[in-house]
C-alpha cells in the first residue's frame, strides 16, 4: 500500500499537482491582498510602525499570483518613496522608515529628530516593493542606504534593526539583501567575513541554525542565515550543510513545523522550502503534503492562516503561496529564494541574470516556457478585481505647493523622493 503510494507519487506527482492546484481559491487571495493594501481595521495598530512590510507582503503576494496588473503601481511607489530618510549630510545614513508614523511632510525627507532614522528591515522591504512594481530605484539614495547598513553592523558581525536597536540573524539577511539590491553584489559595504562568522557560529549541535550563537535552531533563522550566506557568496563555508538539510527536511510533517516538536505552520513551507532550495535540495519536499496542508489553512473569504482554523494574515498568506510555488505548484510565479520575491521581479531589476532560453535543460523540456514564465506575468482570467480609487481628494500642504508651478511637477517630485527644492 505504502509502496504503491510512493511509486505513484514519484512518477505522477505532476498530475497530482495539477489536480491539487485547482483546489486552492487563488482569486480570493488576490482580493485579500488588495483589501489589506487599502485599509486595515484598528485592531492592527500594532503594525503602525511596520506598514512597509505589510505592503511588501501584499504586493509580493499579488506578484506570486501574477496579479500585479490589479495595482496602481505609481501610487504605491510614491508612498514607498515618501518613507525614505534622506541624509542630513554627505556620508550620513539613510534608508527607509516603516511608515509615516513620525509625522512630517509626505515626501522623502531628512530625519525630523534623532529618533527618526532608517530601519534595515524596512529598507529591504522598500527596495523589494519598488523592484516588484517596476521602479528603477533611481530615486533611492544608494550611498545613504548603504551607509545605514554598514553603520548597523556590530562587533559580533551581526546587524541591528536601527541605531541602538536589537541585533540578530534577521538583520544580517537584510544587510546582504540590501547590498545585492543596491548593486553592491560583493557586499563590499559591510564586513563579509564578520557576518559569515556570526552565521557559522549560530549553527547548533543538531545541524540547524538559531537567531544567534547558542540559540535554538529555528526555521526562520535558518532561512535568513542561508539566504544571507548565499548573497554574501560564502555558503560554501558552511561546514555541516548536509546536517542542515537533514534538519530542514525532518521538519515536514505534512506542512512544515518551525522547530522540532512544534505544530505545523504555513509560513515554514517558505522558510524551510527556500532554505532547502538554496542548499541545493529543493526537490526533496513532499509537494502534495504541502499543498494539502495549505488548502486546510485557506480562509474561504481569502487569505491563508498559520494553521487550520486560524485567522488569515498577510505574512502567512504570502509565505504559504511561496511554499506552494517552491514546491512546484502550477499557477504561481516562480521565486528568487535568495531575496524572497519573484524571479520575474529579480530579473527585471537585474538581480538575477536573464535566463538563457536557448540552453537546453537536461532534466526538463520546459526550459523555454520557464524562461518565458519568469519574464511575463500570468493573468488568471477568473480574477477580476481593481483597486478602488479613494474618494477624498488631496491637496499638498501649502508650503510645499508653493514650491511647484503645477500639480504634475509636484507629483513628479514626490515620486522622485528627493528633498524639497531650495526656495
Amino acid at each position: 500500500m505504502l509502496k504503491t503510494a510512493a511509486t505513484l507519487y514519484r512518477y505522477h506527482h505532476r498530475i497530482l499537482l495539477a489536480v491539487m492546484a485547482a483546489g486552492l481559491n487563488l482569486s480570493s487571495h488576490a482580493n485579500y491582498f488588495l483589501k489589506c493594501l487599502q485599509t486595515l481595521p484598528h485592531q492592527y495598530t500594532s503594525l503602525d510602525t511596520n506598514r512597509l512590510t505589510v505592503a511588501y507582503f501584499c504586493v509580493a503576494g499579488l506578484d506570486v499570483l501574477g496579479r500585479l496588473d490589479a495595482l496602481d503601481a505609481p501610487r504605491i511607489i510614491r508612498w514607498v518613496y515618501a518613507q525614505q530618510v534622506l541624509p542630513t549630510a554627505a556620508g550620513a545614513p539613510g534608508g527607509f522608515r516603516g511608515g509615516p508614523f513620525l509625522g512630517g511632510e509626505f515626501c522623502g525627507r531628512p530625519a525630523n529628530s534623532s529618533f527618526d532614522s532608517g530601519h534595515i528591515a524596512m529598507t529591504y522591504t522598500a527596495l523589494a516593493l519598488l523592484a516588484m512594481l517596476g521602479d528603477d530605484l533611481s530615486a533611492v539614495d544608494r550611498t545613504a542606504a548603504l551607509a545605514l547598513v554598514s553603520s548597523l553592523q556590530d562587533s559580533s558581525g551581526a546587524f541591528s534593526s536601527t541605531a541602538g536597536g536589537e541585533s540578530d540573524m534577521r538583520f544580517v539577511f537584510c544587510a546582504a539583501a540590501i547590498c545585492t539590491m543596491l548593486g553592491d553584489p560583493g557586499c563590499s559595504s559591510i564586513d563579509v567575513d564578520a557576518a559569515t562568522s556570526y552565521i557559522l557560529a549560530s549553527q547548533n549541535y543538531d545541524g540547524g541554525i538559531g537567531l544567534g550563537p547558542g540559540m535554538e535552531s529555528h526555521g526562520g533563522s535558518i532561512y535568513t542565515a542561508v539566504a544571507a550566506l548565499t548573497l554574501l557568496g560564502t555558503l560554501p563555508r558552511l561546514p555541516r550543510a548536509n546536517e542542515l538539510v537533514h534538519w530542514c527536511i525532518h521538519r515536514q510533517l505534512g506542512g512544515y513545523q518551525g522547530r522540532p516538536n512544534k505544530d505545523e505552520d504555513t509560513c515554514y513551507s517558505f522558510w524551510l522550502g527556500a532554505s532547502l532550495e538554496l542548499l541545493g535540495a529543493g526537490g526533496m519536499s513532499d509537494r502534495v503534503a504541502i499543498g494539502d496542508f495549505a488548502s486546510r489553512c485557506e480562509f474561504k473569504h481569502g487569505g491563508i492562516g498559520k494553521c487550520a482554523g486560524n485567522h488569515p494574515d498577510v505574512l502567512h498568506s504570502y509565505y504559504a503561496l511561496c511554499g506552494l510555488s517552491l514546491a512546484g505548484w502550477e499557477g504561481l510565479s516562480r521565486l528568487d529564494a535568495r531575496l524572497g520575491i519573484t524571479r520575474r521581479a529579480s530579473i527585471s531589476a537585474g538581480w538575477l541574470p536573464m535566463p538563457n532560453a536557448d540552453s537546453a535543460c537536461a532534466e526538463c523540456d520546459e526550459a523555454q516556457s520557464h524562461a518565458m514564465e519568469d519574464l511575463s506575468l500570468r493573468h488568471a482570467s477568473d480574477v477580476k478585481v481593481a483597486l478602488e480609487q479613494p474618494t477624498a481628494g488631496y491637496a499638498p500642504p501649502s508650503f510645499i505647493e508653493s514650491s511647484f508651478r503645477t500639480k504634475v511637477e509636484y507629483e513628479r517630485w514626490v515620486a522622485s523622493g528627493r528633498a524639497l527644492p531650495s526656495q
Partner: protein, 319 residues
C-alpha cells in the same frame, strides 16, 4: 488628567498620509491623540516625566513601536544625568517593573525583550532575571525570546550554577521541549569540555534514558547525535547497540512487507541514526547495509522518500 491638558502647551504633530494612503490603519481617536503628542515630543526632544508617561501610552497602543522604546531609554538617561546614583537606580528599577508587565503582555515581541536587557544592565541585579524567565516559561515553555534572554543573562553574569538542574526539571515536565534540550547543550558547552569522554559518556546516558522512555522524540535523538557525532560513533558502541535494538521492529520485517498499522511503532530516529553510524564506518559492509536501510526508510518514511534516495546515493554526506 486629560492628555490635552497635560500637553496644553504643545501642538499635536499630525501624521501625513499623502494623496493616496497605502495600508492605512483605521486608528481610534485615542491612538491619533496619543501619537500626535508623542510625535511632537520626539521632534522637540523633550525628555521629561510627562513624556516618559506618554511613551508608555504609545507602547500600550502598539508595543512594536521601536521608536517609543528607544525614546524611553534615552529619556531615562537624560532625566537622570544629574541625579544621585540612588535616584538613577530607582528609576531603572521602576522601568524594569514596567518591563515585567510588558513582557507578560507581549511575550513574542522583540522590542520589549531588548529593552529589558538594557534595564538589567542599568540595574545590575541579574539574579532576579532567572526567576522572572522561569515564570514566563511556566506559561510558554518554548518562548524563543525568553530563552534568548535567559542565555544572555547566564553568559553575561556567569549564573550557571543551578541551570542544569533547572533544565532537567523542564525536560521531566515535557520531554519534547526542544528548547530545554538546546539549553542543556548550551550550559555544558559553556561550563565543561563537551568533547571529553566523561561528559560524552554522561550525556549518552542522559539522552538514552529519555529515548527509552519515549523512542519517538526528535529532540532527544538530535541531542544524542549532537553529542556523539563530533567525537566519532566508533568510540561509543553503546549508541549503535541502542539503535539496533530500537530499530529491531523494522529490521525484523526486512523480509516481508510492513503492515501499515505497524509503521507508527517503528523507531525512524533509530534507523536514521543507524544510517549515519554505518556510513561513518566507511567500510564496504557498513555502506551496503546503510544503503539497504535507506531503501527501507524510503518506504517507512514516505514523506521524505527523496531525501532517503539521496542519502543512499551519498554515503559520505554526513562525514
Amino acid at each position: 488628567m486629560k492628555l490635552a491638558d497635560v500637553f496644553s502647551d504643545l501642538e499635536p504633530l499630525e501624521q501625513n498620509e499623502g494623496p493616496q494612503p497605502v495600508v492605512q490603519i483605521a486608528a481610534t481617536p485615542q491612538f491619533v491623540e496619543v501619537m500626535g503628542y508623542f510625535r511632537r515630543v520626539l521632534v522637540n526632544q523633550e525628555f521629561s516625566q510627562r513624556a516618559l508617561q506618554l511613551s508608555a501610552q504609545a507602547i500600550a497602543l502598539n508595543a512594536a513601536n521601536y521608536t517609543a522604546w528607544q525614546f524611553r531609554r534615552r529619556c531615562l538617561t537624560e532625566l537622570h544625568a544629574a541625579s544621585s546614583e540612588e535616584q538613577r537606580l530607582a528609576a531603572w528599577r521602576d522601568e524594569l517593573e514596567f518591563c515585567d508587565e510588558q513582557c507578560r503582555n507581549n511575550m513574542k515581541n522583540y522590542q520589549v525583550w531588548f529593552h529589558r536587557r538594557a534595564c538589567v544592565e542599568q540595574v545590575g541585579e541579574p539574579q532576579k532575571e532567572l526567576q522572572f524567565i522561569e515564570e514566563i516559561l511556566a506559561e510558554d515553555a518554548k518562548n524563543y525570546h525568553a530563552w534568548g534572554h535567559r542565555q544572555w543573562a547566564l553568559r553575561t553574569y556567569s549564573l550557571w550554577a543551578d541551570e542544569l538542574s533547572f533544565v532537567e526539571r523542564l525536560i521531566k515536565e515535557d520531554l519534547r521541549n526542544n528548547s530545554a534540550w538546546n539549553q542543556r547543550y548550551y550550559v555544558l558547552q559553556h561550563t565543561t569540555d563537551i568533547k571529553s569522554p566523561e561528559v560524552v559518556k554522561a550525556e549518552i546516558a542522559f539522552a538514552s534514558k529519555w529515548i527509552e522512555i519515549e523512542p519517538n522524540n526528535d529532540s532527544s535523538w538530535a541531542y544524542l547525535k549532537g553529542i556523539v557525532r563530533p567525537v566519532g560513533y566508533s568510540a561509543y558502541p553503546e549508541v549503535q547497540q541502542m539503535c539496533e535494538r530500537l530499530a529491531a521492529g523494522a529490521l525484523d520485517e526486512a523480509a516481508g512487507p510492513t503492515q501499515e498499522g505497524d509503521a507508527s511503532k517503528i523507531c525512524l530516529n533509530a534507523l536514521s541514526l543507524l544510517v549515519d553510524i554505518l556510513q561513518a564506518q566507511n567500510t564496504p559492509k557498513g555502506t551496503a547495509r546503510a544503503e539497504a536501510l535507506c531503501k527501507q526508510l524510503q518506504r517507512l518514511d514516505p514523506i521524505r522518500i527523496n531525501y532517503w534516495i539521496w542519502r543512499a546515493q551519498q554515503p559520505r554526506a554526513m562525514g
